[in-house]
Amino acid sequence: MSAGNMRLTLKVWRQSNTNTQGGFENYNLDGVSPDMSFLEMFDILNEQLIEENKEPVAFDHDCREGICGMCSMFINGQPHGPLKGVTTCQLHMRSFQDGDTITVEPWRAGAFPVIKDLVVDRDGFDRIISAGGFVSVNTGNAQDANNLPIAKEDADDAFSAAACIGCGACVAACKNASAMLFVSAKISQLALLPQGQAERSIRAEKMVAQMDAEGFGNCTNTHACSAECPKEISFENIARMNREYLGAKVSSKAV
């Protein structure tokens, strides 16, 4: 099964760095196997470019098992490509046809500047977590883990929200480049658990404030984010975040 026979035309965004203008380059690629992952197809493209003494395409990737959130390709107009609930690294070439032309771009958002080619800067997400996406508990202060029972449904819902991999596909999918699905997933996880209650209000206020400061857009309820999310994070989280935020603002003492 190793030697494949798919032929593809790739239209790939190339950009030297943040400050230069980018553009599309076309590449023809032969010998693609349907069993390859999308990134393995890019490995082959890069080996071909190196052979031709051209600079390989820079793209972010690490675990290649759909969990680290590093890979981030905008494929034929969809973040992570055509399949639902699948990251770029888990997308396989059997989802494409021989002879296809595939367009690959970086995430497009003002708050995610392009570093090079398909690589973008997502540091804004880390700063949003730093603003309040945690429970303030120092190591060594914890009581026995079973002292506080948590209803299974609450734990399961919190887990579903916590499954977010922070890849930024929600931002890339949104016409407003909104980060609300990402932010609401963390706010929801901690709002659903008893451990998150003490800082519940201040967390919502601070994380939303930081989200705005980063330049992410607002939500206009198109649901593109959750439709394209590789972990299928529910849109309900945004509703919950709005509730949390409103509740916090009504009684706000800070921010």
Binding site: E40, D62, E65, C68, V137, G140, P149, F159, I165
Partner: protein, 662 residues
């Protein structure tokens, strides 16, 4: 035998149960005002690094943390699936600190240090408490209490989990602690930075040289202590379950600056991974060991059987683990399960197109769980297909993400056909030698988590890597680092203008310039593949003297070729992943040689190290306790030259036996 005078493990006196408690109450402390003036560098932000950085910052130290990924949340701990062990005994099934300690020593085939492992077992319960307090959503029972499952090599249920994403949830917990400190200004975070050397002044580690991977600039960072939490070196095999970026560079640079490298040949081959599908393969994907709670492993009884799994009747299936190891069955430790799979495939019983695979089958579990659901709902006349549907729903809740991943990668639906699996490189028990304080042989330079060698001997038990990473970071290093830093309160800020920084930076710069100036014909990727093939064929699941000697010659030739013929595209002062890769592959090649030397020196089989010359009649690993009950700690002397130092392993508290899971 006697332990080398160069190795002092600094194990506290007293009985095993009291060592850590007594140590904690007598270790020197650093007062809060002094902590503010003491800087600590943490390299790597996986479970060990993130938890250490967060905790040290909470205590008041000034911390700088580094990761090569674009965010600390991406470290490969995130991919750990099955769970984390802790001796909580919540299931009332007879678990205890001693039992976890004993299982770990035995699982490691009696090649780990008693005192370290006991401490690990002692703090294991605190880890779960800490994670729950952070809001880590572990799986729970309907009563609201935490749920547990079993892992290999163990007869109790002590594994805590969050679906098949336990590593993700634990890492995000540690990451949230880290980011909280970043927000408070106590940690400075350096994303997309790679450590390329250690700086020593007067014999002490005083900082690092790091490369900003976006701009290509080299940076000098000084500190009173440096913690390497940089993970394992499984990618020396090219194909492994590690992330693409996982590398040995930080540990290897430390090694070349005087840190001894311990047991490099102890690598773990995980039995249940998705088989290789072709030449293009860039990495392998694990199917969690937790699946062996419910999945049964088998091959056809007939050789070269080409029928599909479902077409093979029950009485023509060989459940070889249940047959060979009735006491532990499908839950034998990883080294044993891997070798057993290889044995069946080599003997011609493998399945799939490559014949290098065995079946992992859930049909019995679907039936069992489905029947359970029917019983729970008082349904007595359910049809077989209804029962299977219900059973599949239960399995989906437990392992849904793993089944989805399998389907996505192979194109086959594991709810309908048995999974095909084969062993793959997963974890490295070897690593930098550390003493009880987790300090390497270089004063001020520490190593935590998978990067050190300390707790897993020759084979790690499932769900123990997460436990060790967090134990080291949350509960061990915050205490033990005080023993050293208490002596550093008068040092003051360390200037990066010191000649040692200048000289080390120059050496790093020269190497990078050399890499890019060669402009040969072969990409770093192709060198990496060739190295991986040598390692897998000759230093993989089975090793022998002839193969290892050949491998050493081949690797030396490969290294020479690399430095003449590597082709690195792009520029130095630029975002350049090819250059990053070339740097890492160069270090992997050197490590590969040492691994083969270590494997050749250890004339016994133990755990994951299986020397074909040393096996029992039944094909089990044959240890030689009389001659090899020691830790091999290698000192780097020069290119192709190492000196072996031995640390004797002393077992005062448990009886040494041949490991049996029958």
């Amino acid at each position: 035998m006697a332990t080398s005078s160069r190795l002092d493990a600094k194990i506290p006196q007293g009985s095993l149960e009291d060592k850590w408690e007594k140590y904690k109450s007598s270790v020197p402390l650093v007062n809060p005002a002094n902590k503010r003036n003491i800087e600590v560098i943490v390299v790597g932000t996986g479970l060990a690094g993130a938890s250490a950085a967060a905790t040290l910052a909470e205590m008041g130290y000034k911390v700088k943390a580094f990761c090569f990924q674009d965010s600390p949340r991406r470290a490969h701990s995130i991919a750990a699936q099955g769970g984390i062990n802790a001796a909580k005994n919540y299931q009332n099934d007879g678990d205890s600190v001693h039992r976890l300690f004993y299982d770990t020593i035995k699982g490691g085939d009696y090649r780990s240090r008693e005192a370290n492992v006991h401490r690990l077992a002692e703090v294991s319960g605190n880890i779960i408490d800490q994670c729950v307090a952070q809001g880590v959503p572990f799986a729970r029972e309907y009563g609201g209490l935490l749920s547990n499952r079993s892992f290999g090599g163990v007869q109790v249920q002590r594994t805590f989990y969050a679906a098949g994403q336990t590593g993700q949830q634990l890492l995000l917990g540690a990451y949230s602690g880290l980011q909280r400190q970043v927000g408070m200004g106590t940690i400075t975070m350096y994303n997309r930075h790679e450590m390329l050397d250690v700086v020593k002044i007067d014999g002490k580690c005083r900082g690092i040289i790091a490369r900003n991977l976006i701009t290509g600039e080299l940076e000098r960072h000084s500190a009173h202590a440096v913690l390497l939490c940089t993970g394992g070196y499984g990618n020396v095999f090219y194909l492994s379950t590690n992330a693409m970026g996982s590398n040995v560079t930080a540990a290897w640079k430390a090694h070349k600056r005087g840190a001894f490298f311990a047991n490099p040949c102890f690598t773990q081959i995980h039995p249940t991974c998705i088989p290789v599908s072709g030449e293009h393969q860039s990495k392998l994907t694990l199917m969690s060991e937790s699946l062996r709670n419910d999945g049964r492993i088998w091959v056809p009884k007939k050789q070269n059987d080409t029928r599909a799994g479902n077409a093979i009747p029950e009485d023509e299936r060989d459940y070889y683990l249940e047959r060979r190891y009735p006491a532990f069955g499908n839950l034998v430790p990883r080294d044993i399960a891997s070798r057993a799979a290889k044995e069946r495939c080599d003997a011609g019983y493998g399945v799939g197109t490559s014949k290098l695979a065995v079946f992992l089958d859930f049909s019995a579990a679907f039936h069992r769980y489905g029947q359970g659901e029917a019983n729970k709902n008082n349904i007595t006349n359910a049809s077989e297909s209804q029962i299977l549907e219900w059973g599949k729903a239960v399995v989906k809740e437990k392992y849904g993400n793993l089944f989805d991943m399998y389907k996505q990668i192979t194109g086959e639906d594991p709810y309908e056909v048995p999974m095909r699996i084969y062993p793959a490189v997963h974890y490295t028990m070897g690593g930098l030698w550390v003493d009880y304080n987790l300090m390497t042989t270089v004063p001020g330079l520490y190593s935590l988590g998978e990067a050190n060698f300390s707790d897993h001997g020759a084979n790690r038990l499932g769900a123990s890597a997460l436990m060790q990473g967090l134990a080291d970071g949350y509960f061990v290093i915050p205490i033990t680092v005080g023993a050293y830093l208490a002596g550093e309160i008068r040092t003051g800020h360390i200037s990066t203008d010191h000649e040692a920084f200048v000289k080390t930076e120059k050496e790093v710069k020269d190497r990078i310039e050399k890499l890019i100036s060669i402009q040969g014909n072969t990409s770093p990727e192709l060198f990496h593949r060739r190295l991986g093939k040598i390692m897998w064929d000759k230093c993989g699941m089975g090793r022998n003297e002839k193969g290892l000697k050949e491998a050493i010659v081949e690797i030396r030739a490969l290294r020479e070729e690399f430095w003449k013929d590597v082709k690195v595209m792009g520029k130095i002062g630029d975002f350049n992943p090819e250059l990053d890769k070339a740097n890492r592959v160069a270090d992997f090649i050197e490590l590969g040689e040492l691994m083969c030397i270590d494997a050749l020196t250890r004339n016994e089989s133990c755990g994951g190290h299986f020397r074909e010359e040393y096996q029992t009649e039944e094909g089990e690993a044959l240890r030689d306790d009389e001659n090899f009950m020691f830790v091999s700690a290698w000192e780097h002397i020069d290119s192709e030259k190492w000196e072996l130092h031995k640390e004797d392993l002393v077992y005062d508290n448990i009886k040494i036996a041949q490991r049996s899971y029958k």
